[in-house]
Amino acid sequence: MKKLILRSVSVILAISLLSSQSFNVYAGNISAATAELDESVFTFDEELIISELSELNELDAYVEANASVTFESLANEGSALIANIESSAAPMGMAGQDGEPPLGIPSFLWGCVGGVLGLLVVYIMTDNDKDETKKALWGCVASTAVVAIVYMVAWGAWAATAASTSYY
């Protein structure tokens, strides 16, 4: 029964979105969304980044050459390689975890796993809390993840419905 209800809600949300998504997207401030970016924005200073990451690169080279080494073993040796390095893993990237995140899930994780979708989820669930959304953005940027049409459809429909309700 629960599955049936959930499925019905999903279908209703999807249909709602199909009828409202395009309207909402195209009704947005398109001109503001298309400010042309200078070509230089699409470049980065590779040498600067290599310089900024020099300590990490040095540690990385050491770990590559010594496959069994861990942070703990380096700490026990008093290695200078980990002087400014965190001891915890962050395979998906990282961002601040202060405050009370939605559902107790760190915002960066929403962003990491959901990409742009993560932003939207956090945005909606925190009642448009900009700080939380910005954390999700960090996660989004820091991740290799992207968005999903199904969730976007569901959340987009929810948002569109909420927005249209507030308009009238």
Binding site: Q21, S22, N24, V25, Y26, A27, G28, N29, I30, A32, A33, T34, A35, L37, F42, F44, I49, E52, L53, E55, L56, N57, D60, V63, A67, V69, T70, F71, E72, N84, I85, S88, A89, P91, G93, M94, I105, L109, V113, G114, V116, L117, L119, L120, Y123, N128, K130, L137, W138, V141, A142, T144, V146, V147, A148, Y151, G156, A159, A160, A163
Partner: protein, 214 residues
């Protein structure tokens, strides 16, 4: 292997990863290990060996963090494994960063030198955070994603380079990410990938982790 093989013919991958994070303030972070992903079971496994040996298992809507075969943290998350770069790359859907699949629309396209840049409209609900997203493609591969804030300030820049290409499959070997805090300080994150293995059927156990529930 035939050069005509499309990405859809690949169903699982493993790859060595290195994540380097250098924030504008605070300590840096180095994480190294191997990622296993099977697009049919949709199980994403991070087998981490630095800073310590541990596994992060993402199954359905939960993430489990495991050390010495014991779960030390578990969290509920959206079931989004099929929308990660791993899944989308195995399905040739990474080129538009998932925006096309998410029903975002292209507002404008322009060509600058060897780049084709597309600007994507943002739903009004999100425009107070992000005013636009621009994607740059080079040689038909995603090269850069730039997110712009409402005051036309750059929020973040991502660059995808050193593509690993095997038949119809491609995956960025390096992802450079620069994101800006409110004082416009630059924070850096680099993800490096190597030693990709596709369709490994001889190490089945690496792609599935049975969570012991007590």
């Amino acid at each position: 292997m035939s050069l005509n093989t499309s990405a859809q013919d690949y169903f699982r991958m493993s790859i060595d990863f290195t994540t380097k994070v250098k924030p504008a303030e605070g300590k840096a972070n180095l994480t190294k290990g191997k990622i296993y992903y099977d697009k049919y079971s949709k199980e994403l496994i991070y087998d981490i060996h630095f800073p310590a040996n541990e596994k992060w298992i993402v199954q359905d809507s939960r993430i489990y963090k495991i050390k010495n075969d014991s779960i030390y943290t578990t969290d509920e998350i959206p079931a989004l494994n099929e929308f990660t770069i791993f899944h989308l790359s195995l399905n040739s859907s990474f080129t538009y960063f998932g925006l096309r699949e998410a029903n975002f629309s292209i507002a404008k396209v322009e060509k600058k030198d060897d780049m084709v840049i597309s600007y994507w409209s943002i739903p009004p609900q999100m425009q107070s955070i992000i005013s636009s997203i621009a994607l740059a493609k080079k040689e038909n591969s995603l090269f850069s994603v730039v997110m712009v804030g409402p005051d036309n300030n750059i929020l973040s820049k991502q660059f995808f380079k050193d593509y690993i290409k095997i038949g119809g499959f491609e995956f960025p070997g390096t992802i450079v990410q620069i994101f800006y805090d409110e004082l416009q300080h630059e924070n850096y994150q680099i993800m490096e990938f190597k030693n990709i293995v596709l369709n490994d059927t001889e190490n089945e156990e690496n792609y599935h982790y049975k969570i012991e529930r007590h």
